[in-house]
């Protein structure tokens, strides 16, 4: 695959940009993906985030060449990889349950891809052993080469799987639910470690997860998927602060809903106009306003500026209080966060509510 006519960025091992064009996939009549477009810059760390059945794993497998799309193309840099086999694509794929070869030692697992190369490109055994050592050190498993996968913990197996995928000097690194099978503590450690590893090696990396915290914490950019479509692509801040759809509002973080009516681009709660911020505008007619609990500002007393409401529930949770606030005139209870001390808030108290950064989307 290494040819002299290719630009430097196209040779193997070098970080590679990735272009997914209108990829669709049908499984026996049911569509798993409907025309997905995505561009991943060279060296970027991108999360595919979505609930199960959203098509995120299918997309990852299509990029790897483990699955072929019904239509659409996958570009690795300038090269159309759509027709290439999984072997030709030279991607590092880390499977959800690692898929380590259990009859081989850790070192043999890592060396597998190098030994599988055609003779002309295969390093000699001494070189393979050297590279295996380097990779073992990279994943902090120096001295574990002679062990078998069954003798390792989940986190260690995960790192072996990563080293094995990196051994083939992949153009792109793809990880399917990389932390899914690990317990919470190990998951957090590995997450940080993977971020550091990525910053050092600079592989263009895509990983699939259903855990929003993981995606927001780890990725440069997050791709939120549902029902075989991309709902939103953006930095973790974009995704959290300015969700582009009701789905993203609900799926990422928490949100309360208030039925509103949009007139002339302005949402109204009852007959009171609300500032909808600078976001997308919903068409006139019935709509739903989404707002995050930390963006609901509660002031004591009905006289103040804001939407009149009454406190419906109060829960102390750690250092703060969670309030359920019933908006007057509409049948909606909005979640809010208030400091533990300060405001004299009891159930039944009249308050004024301000909404920051709400999202308004047409109902239906």
């Amino acid at each position: 695959m290494r040819t002299n006519s290719q630009p430097a960025a196209a040779t193997e091992g070098f970080p590679m940009e990735l272009d997914i064009r209108n990829i669709a996939k049908d499984f026996g009549g049911t569509a798993a993906l409907h025309g997905v477009d995505l561009h991943v810059a060279s060296g970027e760390l991108v999360a595919l985030l979505g609930p199960s059945g959203s098509g995120k794993t299918t997309l990852l497998r299509i990029i790897a060449g483990l699955e072929f799309p019904t239509r659409g193309q996958v570009f690795f840099g300038e090269i159309d990889a759509s027709e290439k086999t999984v072997q030709e694509r030279n991607v590092g794929f880390v499977f959800q349950h690692y898929a380590l070869f259990k009859h081989m030692t850790v070192a043999d697992n890592i060396a597998y891809g190098l030994r599988a190369r055609p003779k002309a490109r295969r390093p000699d055994e001494a070189e393979i052993a050297r590279r295996v050592e380097t990779l073992l050190d990279l994943v902090q498993l120096g001295g574990y080469g002679k062990r078998y996968p069954s003798q390792l913990s989940g986190g260690q197996r995960q790192r072996v799987a990563l080293a094995r995928a990196l051994a083939i000097e992949p153009q792109v690194l793809l990880l399917d639910e990389p932390f899914g099978a690990l317990d919470a503590k190990v998951r957090k450690e590995l997450r940080r470690w993977l971020r550091e590893l990525h910053d050092r090696t600079g592989h263009t990396t895509l990983f699939v997860t259903h855990d929003q915290e993981e995606a927001l914490d780890l990725a440069d950019r997050v791709v939120v998927m549902s029902n075989g479509q991309i709902e939103q692509v953006g930095t973790p801040e974009d995704i959290y602060d300015a969700p582009a759809s009701p789905f993203v509002f609900d799926f990422i973080g928490e949100a309360s809903r208030i039925p509103v009516t949009v007139k002339g681009g302005v949402p109204f709660i009852g007959d009171r106009a609300v500032s909808a911020g600078s976001g997308r505008r919903a068409p006139d007619g019935p709509a739903t306003l989404y707002v995050r609990p930390e963006n609901v500002l509660v002031r004591a007393g009905a006289a103040g500026e804001g939407i009149p409401a009454t406190v419906a529930t109060v829960h102390r949770s750690g250092s703060s209080r969670r309030l359920g606030v019933r908006i007057e005139g509409v049948d909606a209870v909005v979640e809010a966060i208030a400091p533990a001390e300060g405001l004299p808030l009891q159930v039944g108290a009249s308050v004024a509510v301000g909404l920051r950064a709400p999202g308004v989307f047409a109902t239906g």
């Binding site: 790897a64 060449g65 483990l66 999984v86 072997q87 030279n90 991607v91 590092g92 794929f93 499977f95 349950h97 690692y98 898929a99 380590l100 070869f101 259990k102 009859h103 597998y112 891809g113 599988a116 190369r117 996968p149 069954s150 094995r164 995928a165 051994a167 083939i168």
Partner: protein, 306 residues
Amino acid sequence: MSDVSAPARLMSDAETDTPARRLRKPPRLPTEESPLVRVSLIGLAVVLLLAFLLLPLVAVFTEAFRQGIDGFVEAVNDPDGIAAIKLTLLVAAISVPANLVFGVAAAWAIAKYEFRGKAFLITLIDLPFSVSPVVAGLVYVILYSTSHGVFGGYLQSHGLQIIFAVPGIVLATIFVTFPFIARELIPLMEEQGTTDEEAALSLGATGLRTFLTVTLPNVKWALLYGVLLCNARAMGEFGAVSVVSGHIRGLTNTMPLHVEILYNEYQFAASFAVASLLAALALVTLGLKSLLELRYADELAAGRRH
């Protein structure tokens, strides 16, 4: 008794002030039977095992060595006996590898791919288990007999002898032993799925390399186990082989057929001598099988842990 003492133990655990009272007799677990039931069931099983399995086995070896080692050697070392042993080994040497290839191919297709008619293929593989071997033998006679078989004319004109010859015996043996290896592999391969293969392919391995370095090692113990059972059956098969063999002494007699002929001719000592060889084969097979089962169970457990 037990339903009173079990709560009592719970109580004593709960009351931390009073020292835990030692139970005179540990209560019986809900899934345990009373001693009387246990003794009688175990006793029945032991008696049956002794009467129907162990006693006959002992009898075979006693009869075989009734006239001492010399008598045994003499009985086995008869030209027809040697021919029967050679033929049995030859038939096993052809049919076991053949079924090894068929079995692996069939299990691979069934476990790793989705296709139409898969259920039918599985049923077909089980067919030899459900059909009487005699019927299997007869089917081959009807198809390949040179005098009245469906393909008889063609075979006759090309001078090919299948029935009453070694090819027929091999065919019948392959038919009867077909399910052993496939049946052993299918559940294991289905459980393992295709992720390991995908991993190998994504690392750049060719299909063949993946098969040899990942798929086969993953099932090697199950495969050995299947080969062992297949071999035991191939050497011991009587019914189907009896129909197609023609019982030509020194030519188409396998060991089981030879045993029958000797017995029918009242050569009991010789008959039991050859029979004891088959019995010994069975014992060796059982021994190896148990050894594999120990090993195989470990492998399976490891497979689940991943």
